[in-house]
């Protein structure tokens, strides 16, 4: 188990280093240095020189990469070109909001998706099954920011039930919760369909297993068989998809946050990209990649825990 964990984490770290190097190298591949790009065409040479020095751009490339890695290891992702605040501080300030949005979106999607997937299995090959099928393929393919805009028009502008923008009043839980509903709905809707589909396919395979026949031979209710016995087996492959999916959710969150002007990682990075604020962009990308790799690795380890067969293979 430990060896497996180390190998898994090691691979993630290797990928992270490759990514970081590639990203840093990319900056040098294009004409024009980050300092002049950030300052724009009207900056004076002196100003540029000051900024170049502060960003460490006057050093040789290899030294820069070395300094960058050294700083990252110490938790220093660089400094904002404009506000001069540490990038990590800015990220940590907004990240909880994005995380909350992602977790709530995936949470409701998982709950409803599992339910619909099971419903499709219980009523297999009926109208219910077919309708759920078409519905889930449809919601999977529609982009979440389009859903976000439509939801915003309908529920915030026309019906005026929920706030259109922002993340709610600071310290007011009810207002924050209300501000979370529409973004989480838009972000999770596609995943409802995807998870329903995944659970259904996985369940149908499990339902043909001999142990399900055993459960039937002992007179267990079909509902109990589906929810108490089959789901436990079927959910295991879904978990690894869920981890990768969480990365996807955080990606879509960029657009959804932008639609609802909701402070978060998405609004932070899009603003930085527009201003070509290199340190913020690179720091955020690095942070999100690291976070994403961490989630995927954790999910792998969790699956090993959930499935006793895998657990034992790893232990021996």
């Amino acid at each position: 188990m430990l060896a497996y964990a180390i190998r898994r984490v090691g691979l993630s770290l290797l990928i992270l280093v490759v990514v970081m190097t590639a990203m840093y190298g990319m900056v040098f591949l294009v004409p024009g240095d980050p300092a002049s790009l950030a300052l724009g065409p009207r900056a004076t040479p002196e100003l540029k020189e000051v900024l170049r020095e502060r960003m460490g751009l006057d050093q040789p490339i290899l030294a820069q990469i070395g300094i960058f890695f050294g700083n990252v290891l110490q938790g220093d992702l660089g400094t904002d070109v404009w506000s001069k605040r540490p990038v990590l501080d800015q990220i940590l300030e907004v990240f909880p909001r994005t995380l909350l949005l992602g977790v709530v979106a995936l949470g409701w999607a998982l709950a409803l998706g599992v339910l619909l997937g099971c419903a499709a299995v219980v009523w297999r090959d009926t109208v219910v099954d077919r309708m759920l099928g078409v519905l889930s393929v449809s919601v999977i393919s529609v982009p979440s920011f389009v859903i976000a805009i439509y939801a915003l028009i309908l529920f915030a502008v026309w019906l005026n039930w929920l706030p259109a923008i922002g993340a709610g009043e600071a310290g007011d839980f009810a207002s924050q919760a209300r501000a979370l509903i529409l973004p989480a709905f838009a972000l999770g809707l596609g995943w409802v369909g995807y998870l329903a589909r995944l659970i259904r396919a996985s369940m149908l395979e499990v339902m043909e297993a001999p142990h399900i026949r055993t459960a039937r031979a002992f007179g267990m209710r079909e509902g109990d068989i589906v929810f108490r016995h089959a789901l436990r087996v079927a959910i295991v492959p879904t978990l690894s998809v869920l981890a990768v999916g969480f990365g996807g959710i955080l990606s879509s969150a960029v657009f959804v946050e932008s639609v609802f002007s909701r402070p978060g990682i998405g609004t932070l990075i899009t603003a930085a990209v527009e201003k070509r604020n290199y340190p913020v962009v690179m720091g955020t990308v690095l942070f999100m990649t690291a976070f994403y790799l961490m989630i995927v690795t954790t999910a792998d380890l969790l699956i090993a825990r959930l499935d006793p067969r895998v657990r034992d293979v790893l232990r021996s």
Partner: protein, 319 residues
Amino acid sequence: MTAVLEVQNLSVAYRMQGGALQAVRDVSLSVARGEVLGIMGESGCGKSTLAAAMINLLPAGARVGQGAVRLNGTDILRLPPAAQRALRGKSVAMVFQDPMTAFNPVLTIGRQLADFVGAHDTGLAQPERLAAMLTRVGIPDARSCLGRYPHELSGGMRQRVAIAAALLMQPDVLIADEPTTALDVTMEAQIIHLFRDLRTSFDGAIVIVTHHLGVIAELCDRVAVMYAGQVVEEGAVDAIFHDPQHPYTRALLACDPAVVDPSSGRLPTIGGRLPDLSAPPRGCAFEPRCRVAAVSCREPVPRQRPSAGRSVLCHRGAE
């Protein structure tokens, strides 16, 4: 003796492309309380389909054409699904062939047994009771076994657990579908031993489906020999083994590795293949492979009853 389980003129067919495969054809059998009935035949003869039909849990694509399966006089095939479910596990229980896959891999043994019992009576699903039953089938340290996952037990242990599960509700009928086939020789001997103990302590009827002649000889009171979906011969085990009347039964007994003369140096086989069951022959199904076949064997076969409790499906068997 009144029959607990009675199969009457039962036919089961599998839907296939361009027709139906008639796996069970007009089978009638019965088994009484305290009696052990063996169903014997080579693979593909329909014996497992028959066993599944006895609790109406046929695989997808299989349909009962006609006939009845009476449990204590009630035809379970005609009961609504909920009533059928109430009988399964409680009045009739089943032990499956492969103990490796018969249990849910991600739930503990105890949880599964509790769920099986709990489907009928939640009050009975107590660990002490479950452990007592595991002890009864010869599982050492039954309490810790309840907390284990199926893959942590050996095949033989799992089959013991399966038998314990089947006995939990003290059913009227216990059906075991090839209970020893997936096990190695030592395990097989242990499971046979366990069933022999059950004969004295269990007061319901037992149906054992197997292709293993040793299992039949060791455990059964009566045996039904199946060929191509039909019961071709039925009778007391002693009578069948000492005086087989159907040519197929004779050939089957001659093929048993345990009785073959080792000096002959080779195992006898039955030549030819099973008939095509999507279009079963009008006459005797064994006729193409039979050594004593005559022209009359292509005509429909009458069931002959040479003595009480004995029946043979052969034109020439009673001669």
